[in-house]
């Protein structure tokens, strides 16, 4: 029963991914309008699953790695749906929905059941820190999607093989969206780090302990800071898109790497 809802959500995510990719290939209107509905259905089921589990645990369900992946997939879907209420950015869905499906699939596969949270970590800062950090990651995943589409479209235009129909948002729009999302992501990442430090202060009496997650957060924070600064001095278009993709790759690898290999409190089971 506990795994039923996440599995249904996974199936819906996969269906949405197929729909968005179908739209990308065929440019048919019905896909553009139906795929977001599938994604919304997936997010709704998924939301119930997370709420149910959190209720059962007595705290927000992000303690274990599978919960973290699942929560990230959920944030991604919600954010995309909020961003594209008029379905004009459906091509982004062709990156977002498969990514959410992938995260969800791994989450379902490695699902380990409930994890006890040490009493020292039970605090109101948990949902605040975690929500901010994950929303930040989800926003960066969206910047990755806009940049990937940008690079693909840029390649096609350069190679004189433009899209046969006007299906994508224009390059200018993708670039502007990328800039806006980067600013939001950076703000969320910064707040996530700050709230994490405050929480750490209350839990262990130290703001910063140089563990792997903190190091990697700092590295990605610096990368995104450089990228945003670059944008303000004229890095735009393809260069900005390429750097966004690289930054997200670092973020993604560190997210997975820390959770899999690290033994710190951000690692697998929060035990330290």
């Amino acid at each position: 029963m506990e795994l039923l809802l996440p599995r249904i959500a996974l199936l819906l995510y996969l269906a949405a991914a197929a729909g968005f990719i179908g739209y990308l290939i065929t440019a048919e209107e019905r896909w553009r309008l139906r795929a977001p509905l599938l994604l919304a259905a997936a997010a709704a089921v998924h939301g119930f699953a997370i709420a149910g589990r959190s209720f059962q645990l007595g705290h927000i369900a992000v303690a274990s790695f599978d919960e973290a992946l699942s929560f990230l997939a959920f944030s991604l879907a919600i954010l995309y749906l909020l961003l594209d209420r008029r379905h004009v950015l459906a091509v982004l869905g062709a990156v977002i929905a498969p990514l959410a499906s992938l995260l969800m699939a791994v989450a379902v596969l490695i699902s380990s059941g409930a994890t006890e949270l040490p009493p020292v970590l039970r605090s109101a800062w948990l949902p605040v820190h975690v929500t901010l950090a994950f929303l930040g990651n989800a926003v960066f995943a969206l910047t990755f999607a806009t940049s990937l589409i940008y690079v693909l479209e840029d390649n096609r235009l350069k190679a004189k093989r433009p899209a046969r129909r006007l299906l994508q948002p224009s390059l200018e729009r993708l670039d502007a969206l990328n800039h806006r999302l980067l600013s939001w992501g950076f703000l969320l990442l910064t707040l996530g780090i700050v709230t994490g430090a405050i929480w750490a202060h209350f839990a262990w009496g130290r703001f910063w302990s140089w563990e792997a997650r903190e190091m990697w957060s700092l590295i990605t924070w610096i990368l995104y800071a450089v990228l945003l600064h670059g944008r303000s001095i004229g890095w735009r278009g393809r260069r900005a898109a390429t750097l966004t993709i690289v930054s997200f790759a670092v973020l993604f690898v560190s997210f997975v790497g820390v959770n899999v290999f690290s033994s710190g409190r951000h690692g697998g089971t929060f035990g330290s």
């Binding site: 006007l166 200018e172 004229g234 393809r238």
Partner: protein, 427 residues
């Protein structure tokens, strides 16, 4: 059956006649009705007719028995006293009969016969000229039917195929590409180098799509000033072209220069100055006006005439497939119309008429006898006999009249079909 009435289409179009001839034959607005009436008077055997005149075609569709009528006499009547001899016209005229005439009309209304296939104006023009014929009283049952069917076909073609969805001219493809790069043209500036026809057409396309501002540069400054005035734009001195380059989001080159007007370095400098905002260069020159290496610069897109033609070629392939589907729609609708037209023949009409009467008779008998269950077999039989007798007496006169009709005679036959509502459930 020798004097069978036909649908008959005579005309000339951009496929068959040069523009100066079409111009001289074209009808002035509002005269179509008068000319149609004149045709009914002068051409023997024609019972209904309607005209269509656009800048690409002048055509007449008629119904009647045109046995022995020379098509150029029709054209001569249309040309009337405009100094066009029959001989001038004869070589350029085409004549379609029956199915072919219907098919031609359907194809014209669906814009399959247009110079730019898929252009949307033609349907409105066909409607306009049909209405003129209705007002002049020269269109009757047959033409009403065939024209309404043609509007229906045009709608099907528009809704069910992608005809008309794609642009095919070089300059409209250039604008379409610009829309893939820029979200909106309103805050963009285009620099047009050259003052020839292509430069002007492309500038017009960009202006029609709402480009924020235009600049014109030309080796002969006066021409640049002239064009700039026409477009309410700014002329730019040719020698100082490079200074204005950073301002331009779109650069159109259309000169006969033999050397490159812009080098990679010049564009790179301009790009730096404009903060690497995307730049779209359109090279319409042959030989080329812009160094092709410019395309290697980041956020710069350079399309020369071959690239644009390549994009058009792709569109065209798609268009041909859609056109094929449109032709299939037309063909099936021609057959559907033709079934109706042939049914105007007497025998099927008599059969239909009798069938309809019998159905009504049977239905009413069932209803009546159903509520009179106490009647015996004898009474029932006599009621049935009475109903049948009334039906036969009523049908006797119309049917014997129809039988006397030797050919698909529009008059009595159509009257019978109309009065008994035989065509009502069709369409």
């Amino acid at each position: 059956m020798t004097a069978r009435r036909k649908l008959w289409l005579v005309g000339l179009s951009h496929h068959s006649a040069p523009v100066d001839l079409r111009e001289r034959l074209a009808l002035a607005g509002g005269t179509a009705g008068d000319v149609a009436r004149k045709l009914l008077e002068r051409i023997p055997g024609i019972q209904e007719c309607a005209l269509l005149s656009t800048c690409n075609r002048v055509e007449m569709l008629a119904y009647g028995d045109p046995e022995g009528v020379d098509p150029s006499a029709v054209a001569g009547t249309i040309a009337d006293d405009r100094g066009l001899g029959h001989e001038d016209l004869r070589a350029h005229l085409y004549l379609h009969e029956d199915r072919a005439a219907v098919r031609h009309l359907f194809r014209v209304a669906s814009s399959l016969d247009s110079m730019v296939v898929g252009e949307p104006q033609i349907l409105g023009q066909v409607k306009e000229f049909y209405e003129a014929a209705v007002e002049a009283g020269t269109a009757g049952t047959i033409l009403h039917r065939v024209f309404h069917k043609s509007f229906f076909v045009a709608k099907r073609v528009r809704n069910e195929t992608g005809i008309g969805a794609k642009n095919v001219s070089v300059s409209s493809v250039a604008v379409e590409l610009a829309m893939q790069i820029f979200e909106s043209l309103e805050d963009k500036t285009a620099l047009v180098i050259g003052a020839g026809k292509m430069a002007e057409i492309t500038a017009r396309h960009f202006r029609d799509r709402g480009i924020g501002s235009l600049m014109f540069a030309n080796r002969t400054f006066d021409r640049a000033v002239e064009l700039a005035r026409e477009f309410h734009a700014a002329p730019v001195p040719f020698e100082e072209l490079v200074r204005y380059l950073p301002l331009a989001d779109v650069v159109i080159g259309s000169t006969a220069a033999t050397d490159f007007l812009l080098s990679e370095n010049q564009v790179r400098d301009a790009l730096h100055e404009r903060g690497y905002r995307p730049t779209f260069l359109i090279d319409l020159g042959v030989p080329r006006n812009f160094d092709p290496r410019i395309n290697d610069l980041q956020n710069v897109y350079l399309y020369d005439i071959d690239d644009l033609e390549g994009v058009i070629g792709e569109n065209r392939g798609e268009r041909e497939r859609e056109a094929q589907r449109a032709e299939e729609i037309v063909q099936s609708e021609v057959e559907s119309f033709w079934r109706w037209f042939e049914n105007l023949d007497t025998v099927p009409t008599i059969v239909e008429l009798r069938g309809r009467a019998e159905r009504i008779c049977r239905r009413e008998l069932e209803r009546t006898l159903g509520s009179l269950r106490h009647l015996g077999e004898v009474e029932r039989k006599s009621i049935e006999a009475m109903a049948e007798a009334i039906m036969n007496k009523l049908l006797h006169e119309p049917i014997s009249r129809l039988k006397r009709v030797k050919s698909p005679e529009a008059g009595d036959l159509l009257a019978a079909r109309r009065l008994f509502g035989l065509d009502d459930d069709d369409d």
